[in-house]
């Protein structure tokens, strides 16, 4: 029986061009082909008789490191894989191909992953280029990150300058920005922080930091003096506290303002009591607390109809066996990133516009003499107004969702 194993050991086959030792060498004309294995067998036996297989390895030029050029018929066995011999030329092409497709990587045997021991001229230029290539590749993420950060930093700084000009007016902005060429930490850190602080002020991530932030930033100034109307410094220090008060009190201020607007209090004494509670105790009455807990669907409380304007408790409003409809989203932090960014970054423009509108009224202009103050008050009013409208709408939609304020008429025709 024909033994493949025997042939492998007797006649080496180049694993790249698949030619065996007994056949033509790579340099020879590839045309003449013996078409059957029998033919190869016979040639093999001839080769064995002639003793070719024994003489070739010692003649391999690889054993002589002095000459790197080689004749085409030479064979190499570059790794420990049994039977993975190759023509020297074929393997050189494989190495050349790997060098172009995987520059800098060592060339390995595809089967045993042994790194070929290649004796080659030291390719200094190639090594330098490969090193540069690898260094560039590994530096790309850092360079990209640095470039993006620098871009964001510069844009933030420019935006900070714009925000200062928009809210403070040209004169104050000029005195802030042109610091006689002495640009300190306030310029390098403070200005780029402006857009970040604006965005943070719309979320609750910085709630614990914002109230003390102005003091930290402004601490290098003279003792803060309280005047009336307040100076920009005092206003800035006061703003986070006002924001916190409004947010932490669960929209109490809006609610009270809505009650004013909708006249849903039964008598004036209730209003005064409520305001007193708010100002003095910084809290709200039980009926208002109950109203606020109904905003959360899990709690079931009966609602003070006089205060919230609900006609029925929630439980009674639901038909039996139906899950309650999802309550409408209450006004709160922005629902998406673009809205968050737009809302935060448009604030200086809105403040500037509102300040201009306030400044057009002579009475307000005399009470609020500086541009910054008018912008701040204007922006506060705009935000307050917007939130009141949103909250009002929310209360209405919530009533609708609970089946109140909407009724389907019977067919009468």
């Amino acid at each position: 029986m024909y033994s493949i194993e025997a042939e492998r050991i007797e006649a080496r086959t180049c694993w790249i061009c698949l030619e065996s030792e007994s056949e033509d060498t790579p340099r020879d004309n590839p045309e003449p082909r013996r078409s059957s294995r029998v033919g190869r067998m016979s040639s093999l036996s001839i080769a064995a008789i002639l003793g070719n297989s024994n003489s070739t390895p010692s003649a391999s030029p690889l054993s002589a490191p002095s000459s790197r050029t080689t004749d085409a018929s030479a064979w190499v066995h570059p790794c420990r894989c049994l039977g993975l011999d190759a023509h020297h030329l074929c393997l050189l092409r494989f190495v050349a191909e790997r060098r172009t497709t995987h520059p800098g990587d060592p060339v390995k045997c595809p089967v045993c992953l042994y790194v070929y021991d290649i004796d080659e001229e030291a390719d200094w230029l190639g090594a330098v280029l490969a090193f540069g290539d690898r260094a560039t590749r590994s530096l790309v993420p850092y360079a990209t990150f640095t470039a993006i950060s620098a871009t964001v930093y510069i844009m933030s700084t420019a935006y900070g300058a714009y925000a200062i000009v928009a809210t403070c007016g040209p004169q104050l902005a000029d005195s802030i920005l042109s610091d006689d060429g002495m640009w300190g930490s306030r310029t390098w850190i403070g200005m780029p922080m402006i857009p970040i602080a604006l965005i943070a002020s719309r979320l609750d991530i910085a709630d614990n930091v914002l109230p003390v932030l102005p003091f930290l930033i402004l601490s290098n100034q003279q003792p803060i003096s309280i005047t009336l109307p307040p100076s920009p410094t005092v206003t800035l220090c006061f703003l986070p506290w006002a924001r916190q008060a409004i947010r932490k009190q669960d929209l109490v201020v809006y609610r009270v303002l809505i009650y004013f607007a909708t006249w849903q209090f039964n008598n004036n004494r209730a209003i005064y009591k409520e305001i007193w509670r708010l100002v003095y105790h910084f809290t709200i009455s039980k009926s208002l607390t109950a109203a606020s807990t109904t905003l959360h669907p899990n709690t079931d409380t009966t609602i003070n109809t006089a205060v919230v304007g609900e006609q029925q408790p929630i439980a009674n409003a639901q038909p039996q066996g139906f899950p309650p409809p999802a309550p409408p989203r209450r006004p709160g932090p922005p629902s998406s990133l673009p809205r968050l960014l737009m809302g935060a970054l448009l604030l200086p423009a809105i403040a500037s516009f509102a300040g201009t509108v306030l400044g057009a009224v002579p009475f307000l202009r005399s009470k609020l003499p500086s541009v910054f103050l008018r912008s701040t008050v204007g922006a506060g009013l705009v935000i307050l107004g917007r939130d009141i409208i949103l909250y009002w709408d929310f209360v209405r939609r919530r009533k609708r969702a609970m089946g109140n304020g909407r009724r389907i008429r019977d067919f009468t025709g």
Partner: protein, 149 residues
């Protein structure tokens, strides 16, 4: 360069015609040897028993240093690693190729991939892949993650 290409493919063609592996037969190979059509007969006792498929090998002139492009033509088998446009998700056809592999080794790998499959189903991302894939699967960046089928 094409010297190796011609020698190697002539030799592979001769060997495969002389003693073809079970289930694999060369249907056609054009004169300059760079396009072959190979017929695969699925092994008995597998879910594809009785079916036969056609593979098209396209050899670039860097073959065998560079992998051949291998796709199913005609109706490809329904298999979790074979897309309905004939592209095959098999690592040795792309970044795991080495010149030590041959046409018959590739065919045997694909046959064994078919044999070890227990359920005829398309790849989960078939629709989106077929929509965006180019003509050649070698232009796709493949992610090989499943060695079980």
């Amino acid at each position: 360069m094409s010297n190796i290409f011609l020698k190697r493919l002539t030799k592979e063609l001769r060997d495969m015609k002389a003693n073809p592996p079970a289930g694999i037969s060369i249907e056609n190979a054009d004169d300059n040897l760079n396009k072959w059509t190979v017929k695969l007969d699925a092994a008995e006792g597998t879910i594809y028993a009785g079916e036969s498929f056609q593979l098209r090998f396209t050899f670039g002139n860097k073959y065998p240093l560079e992998s051949p492009e291998v796709v199913f033509i005609g109706k490809p088998p329904v298999h979790p690693h074979i897309y309905s446009n004939g592209h095959i998700c098999l690592s040795i056809l792309y970044d795991q190729w080495s010149p030590a592999l041959t046409v018959s080794a590739v065919c045997l790998s694909i046959l064994s991939m078919l044999s070890s499959c227990a359920l005829k189903e398309l790849p989960p991302d078939n629709a989106s892949y077929v929509l965006r894939a180019g003509a050649s699967p070698k232009n796709t960046t493949w992610a090989f993650h499943d060695d079980t089928v």
